[in-house]
Symmetry: C5
Subunit: 90 residues, 5 copies
């Protein structure tokens, strides 16, 4: 998993039913200091995260499907939760 | 998933039946500003995307097979849908 | 697997029960000389590792779930053990 | 999948029966302009590709096993076909 | 798969039984010219490879478990064989 920041949304024409009613969010991958790394994932959201939120992303298909509680879902990255705090050793 | 741009096609001699009648498209991976990152995938197309289209790509084998509705298909990347709009936070 | 160093903790609001009671640790990926590579994973801990510990991380979802002894767990990276010694050829 | 060029062969002592009688080829990953990217995979060949051939590589284990028509095969990358033509948008 | 060089060993306290009696080796990933790329994996060894040996590594969890002939093993990288020869096209 990695820490990301929701920076936008994607509207796409997708026929697969696993996406019906799901918001697709652009999530920038952050480094441990909270800066964007330049990498991103288009994530399915299950926690009602919004633009600007710092989130925890699972970037593995089988785990992502489990979060969605669907055996069949063509996804790789899902927002698992909202990050409340990051504590780094001094 | 990531956002990509279809930039070409590949013609290849493949014997596996999962590829019969499927178009193989070259998809450049875009960054969140819409610029090519230099990475690409050869994708199977299920949405009739054409060269120049901005598309959503699932880059995970099990999910890709589910989009194709085949249990057995030697693929990793499949075009899931056509991107209509990307909204980035200001 | 790779060798990492626990550098912090993440507190997040996650509803999935696989995370209940689990500590989420920030683990910096180290190179073979013990220096951070700039990459990290948010890992679930099963060995009571603490900040500063040098650990062994499995970064593959199916293997990670096996360490947790759960079939269903949306994780990709798990701390497998604490590193006692690294011996490099001279 | 990606486009690669067969640049050599590997001879190795491997006991697993999935490799018996299989040629192991070094395949350089090419960019969309046909230049090597510096990355490579050691691939199992099922299409009788030879050194110099431009090939299509599936780089995902489950898909690779399906190409080999074996449930059990410790492989990640398999040559799926020989590339006849690549057409890039002008 | 990739070609690597065994450069050291790791001693770690791991409770999972899949690791009992298994040596953990540090394997530097080599490029096709035999030079280290800076990347490495901590690999489980099944071929009695030693420090200095040039080896073939499978870096995919499901394939790695098959080499170990275990359904349950939290591993991602396993040494498949010892490399006897690499022949590159002139």
């Amino acid at each position: 998993m990695y820490i990301g920041r929701v920076t936008g949304t994607v509207v796409a024409t997708i026929k697969h039913e696993a996406f019906h009613g799901r918001k697709l969010l652009i999530v920038d991958r952050l480094d441990t200091n909270g800066n964007p790394t330049g990498e991103y994932d288009i994530c399915v959201d299950v926690v009602q995260a919004g633009v600007g939120d710092r989130v925890l992303v699972i970037d593995e298909g089988n785990g992502a499907r489990q979060i969605l509680r669907r055996k069949v879902a063509p996804v790789r990255a899902v927002i698992v939760g909202v990050v409340d705090d990051v504590e780094l050793a001094a």
